[in-house]
Amino acid sequence: MKKLLVILSILTSLPAFAGEEVQVGVKGMVCAFCAQGIEKKFKGEPAVEKIKVSLEKKYVKLTFKDGQKLSKEKISELLKDAGYEAVFDGTK
């Protein structure tokens, strides 16, 4: 019984270790080449586990590796390097 409780406890605590997510709006992303360029830009970042780019909703969603993250400034810089502008929480 004690063993089972330990296993359950470990399993239920797993989501706490899942990578953090951030969703950033992108101004100027209107074509597939734009989206592909942005995806490629973030793929080169070691802290990034997963990238989802939506051309329709004009955002990039980043899932980070455990314990890692990119600052807003870094995200803005990467988007600027790609030729676009980051929008956080409805503001530039």
Partner: protein, 210 residues
């Protein structure tokens, strides 16, 4: 003479619709083809504002090799659209009858694009010093182009995107303006276009960003 003029018009007409600059570190490979001409354009973007590029052009009588530099002069990023002004220039050479002549190219591009509409304006100037080709009316070549596109449906970037584009060309001092409808397809980093002129000519353009 008419054939030569038509050939030149066709090959100059294929020079546009490139993405002169892309994101930092991006390589672009573009190919523009007509029944009489082929063009290969390679670009490498050192930043999203500046790219080094080289153009290879071939028609029935000449081959052009033109290294060039592409600049993004201005960009306006909006929530639903993007507008750009590009300047491109380069110097190279033309091979004609086993002889080599210098050639110079300058290009000014303005475009505006949303997910639904697309407008592209271009003026191109080519200076060729091929004094041995008596069939050339002038060594200076001016070409203006306008393209207007509409996407019949919206798709995500990893789905097939389709555009209908109408292109207008004005060559040299001709008063006549040519119109060519195109269908453009792209998915992720690959784009291709098929165009059919009202005079029976056809175009096939291809572009990939690596």
């Amino acid at each position: 003479m008419r054939l030569l003029a038509a050939t030149i018009l066709l090959f100059i007409g294929t020079l546009a619709i490139a993405h002169p600059t892309s994101y930092k570190g991006a390589t672009g490979i573009m190919s523009y083809n007509t029944p009489t001409t082929n063009e290969l354009l390679l670009t490498y973007s050192l930043s999203h504002r500046f790219a080094l590029a080289t153009t290879y052009l071939r028609d029935s009588s000449s081959e052009f090799y033109i290294p060039r530099a592409n600049f993004l002069l201005a960009r306006w990023n909006e929530h639903d659209s993007q507008a750009n002004i590009y300047l491109s220039g380069g110097s190279g050479w033309e091979k004609f009858n086993n002889k080599t002549y210098s050639a110079h190219l300058a290009e000014l591009i303005a475009d505006w694009e949303s997910r639904k509409y697309y407008v592209y304006l271009e003026h191109q100037y080519l200076r060729r010093n091929n004094i041995d080709n008596n069939l050339l009316a002038t060594q200076d070549y001016n070409h203006s182009k306008a393209r207007f596109g509409i996407a019949p449906f919206l798709a995500e970037f990893d789905e097939l995107n389709v555009w209908a584009i109408l292109q207008f060309d004005k060559h040299l001092n001709n008063t006549q303006i040519e119109a060519t409808p195109f269908l453009r397809f792209y998915i992720r980093n690959v784009l291709w276009e098929i165009g059919a002129g009202f005079n029976g000519s056809f175009n096939f353009n291809f572009m990939i960003h690596l």
